[in-house]
């Protein structure tokens, strides 16, 4: 009883500070401060997912939203600040207060309408059959025991294949836009020592996330994000290539995720089962193969994205 009371207070404080942080991040006039507030927002959101007992999403939010997204946005904010100093930046208009309040009010109305729809669907008529129950019932046949992984890599495998394609396409866009940004200064002894510990730890944790994703929170996206973070910190410590091999090898690595996934699907189709329809006794190994390729591909893509373009 008293536990529930404290939990309620905790939820209210978390929600209040989250909203205040969002408002502060969006209304900050200076891009660098806004980026730092946005990183703090990513941290806060990860805590919200943790509170909602969703560790998979909390892992992904911390690794991708706060960590890598923050690093990429910092690089963009730096460039914008430099351009503003040199007088090259575009002028930013502040929206009128009427527009802001109108939008806020409209969002509240929309949120209330959605809540009403949700409530009346679930409690209005006879109890509907929830998809979640059906999905959970079939998890043991899916090849993994973690329900999130079974959804991502089995029930909705096609979506995940397309997501990997989106990542690859984004990198192709980055590569098409020009040269890589200037490299960072060589690291002093303190940073070198930290990188010497953190990079192997990142790689080890990535492997751990990949392996344990079958039965506990984890998976290919989180593992790939950690590999990408290893590339980012290598580049920050002075390596212009972010730990990646040459350009041809990068192209192979980046397309590995989509390639292996699509080939597995096609092979299953040729075997008469249907695209990406795993046979239940081999599902575990097929999913592991696809996830391993996806991890390497995501890591290489994110590191190459941080490099920012084709190498000179």
């Amino acid at each position: 009883m008293i536990y529930d009371l404290w939990l309620l207070i905790f939820d209210l404080v978390l929600l209040g500070t989250l909203l205040a942080l969002a408002v502060a991040a969006l209304s900050s006039p200076e891009p660098r401060r806004a980026v730092m507030l946005f990183i703090a927002f990513g941290l806060w959101l990860s805590l919200v997912w943790a509170r909602l007992r969703a560790p998979d999403v909390a892992l992904a939010e911390a690794a991708i939203g706060a960590g890598l997204g923050g690093a990429l946005m910092l690089a963009a904010a730096r460039r914008q600040a430099r351009e503003a100093q040199q007088g090259q930046a575009l002028a930013v208009e502040r929206p009128s207060p009427l527009a802001v309040w109108g939008l806020a009010f409209g969002s509240l109305i929309a949120a209330a309408a959605l809540l009403w729809v949700y409530y009346s669907t679930l409690h209005g008529g006879p109890e509907p059959e929830r998809l979640a129950d059906l999905a959970l019932a079939r998890v043991p046949e899916s090849g993994v025991t973690n329900p999130v992984t079974s959804v991502l890599l089995n029930y909705r495998a096609y979506d995940t294949l397309l997501e990997l394609g989106v990542l690859m396409t984004a990198l192709l866009g980055i590569w098409s836009l020009g040269r890589a940004s200037a490299p960072f200064q060589p690291a002093g002894p303190a940073l070198t020592a930290m990188v010497a510990w953190v990079v192997p730890l990142l790689i080890l944790t990535a492997g751990y996330m990949l392996w344990i994703g079958a039965s506990a929170p984890g998976g290919a996206f989180q593992a790939g994000a950690l590999l990408g973070a290893a590339g980012v910190i290598l580049r920050l410590a002075g390596d212009p290539a972010a730990g990646l091999p040459g350009e041809t090898a990068q192209r192979w690595l980046v397309s590995l995720g989509v390639a292996v996934f699509a080939l597995v699907g096609l092979a299953l189709m040729v075997a008469g089962l249907g695209f990406l329809t795993y046979p239940p006794d081999q599902a575990k190994w097929l999913i592991l193969a696809v996830e391993s390729a996806a991890t390497v591909a995501i890591g290489a893509t994110l590191a190459a994205a941080y490099v920012g373009g084709r190498r000179a």
């Binding site: 730096r78 600040a81 002093g188 303190a190 930290m194 510990w197 953190v198 730890l201």
Partner: protein, 99 residues
């Protein structure tokens, strides 16, 4: 609630106290470098005490090792981070950190 639970509660509360002290220091101390000093104390001792408080309650030796690793990592990153921030602030001579 047996004596291990009491010990955990006390350690965790002490850890939170250090975090409060570190935040107060961050807000009230006059200079960048003194704030850095306050920050690293909160990091090391605050998190260390919380970790020690949680340590007896985890599910096995592997989890305990994970907790230890998290704390050592925060020590390493915190110390290097303080060094990097101070070096950059000194060299920058008050100029902006992103240029």
């Amino acid at each position: 609630m047996d004596w291990i639970d009491w010990l955990s509660a006390v350690l965790v509360a002490l850890g939170a106290l250090f975090f409060i002290a570190g935040t107060v220091g961050l807000l009230r101390l006059p200079d960048l470098f003194s704030r850095l000093h306050a920050l690293t104390k909160a990091d090391n001792l605050g998190l260390g005490l919380i970790m020690l408080g949680v340590l007896p309650q985890v599910g096995g030796p592997l989890q305990g090792l994970k907790l230890l690793m998290i704390w050592l990592l925060v020590l390493l990153a915190g110390a290097t981070g303080a060094h990097l921030i101070a070096k950059r602030a000194l060299r920058g001579d008050g100029e902006d950190m992103f240029e």
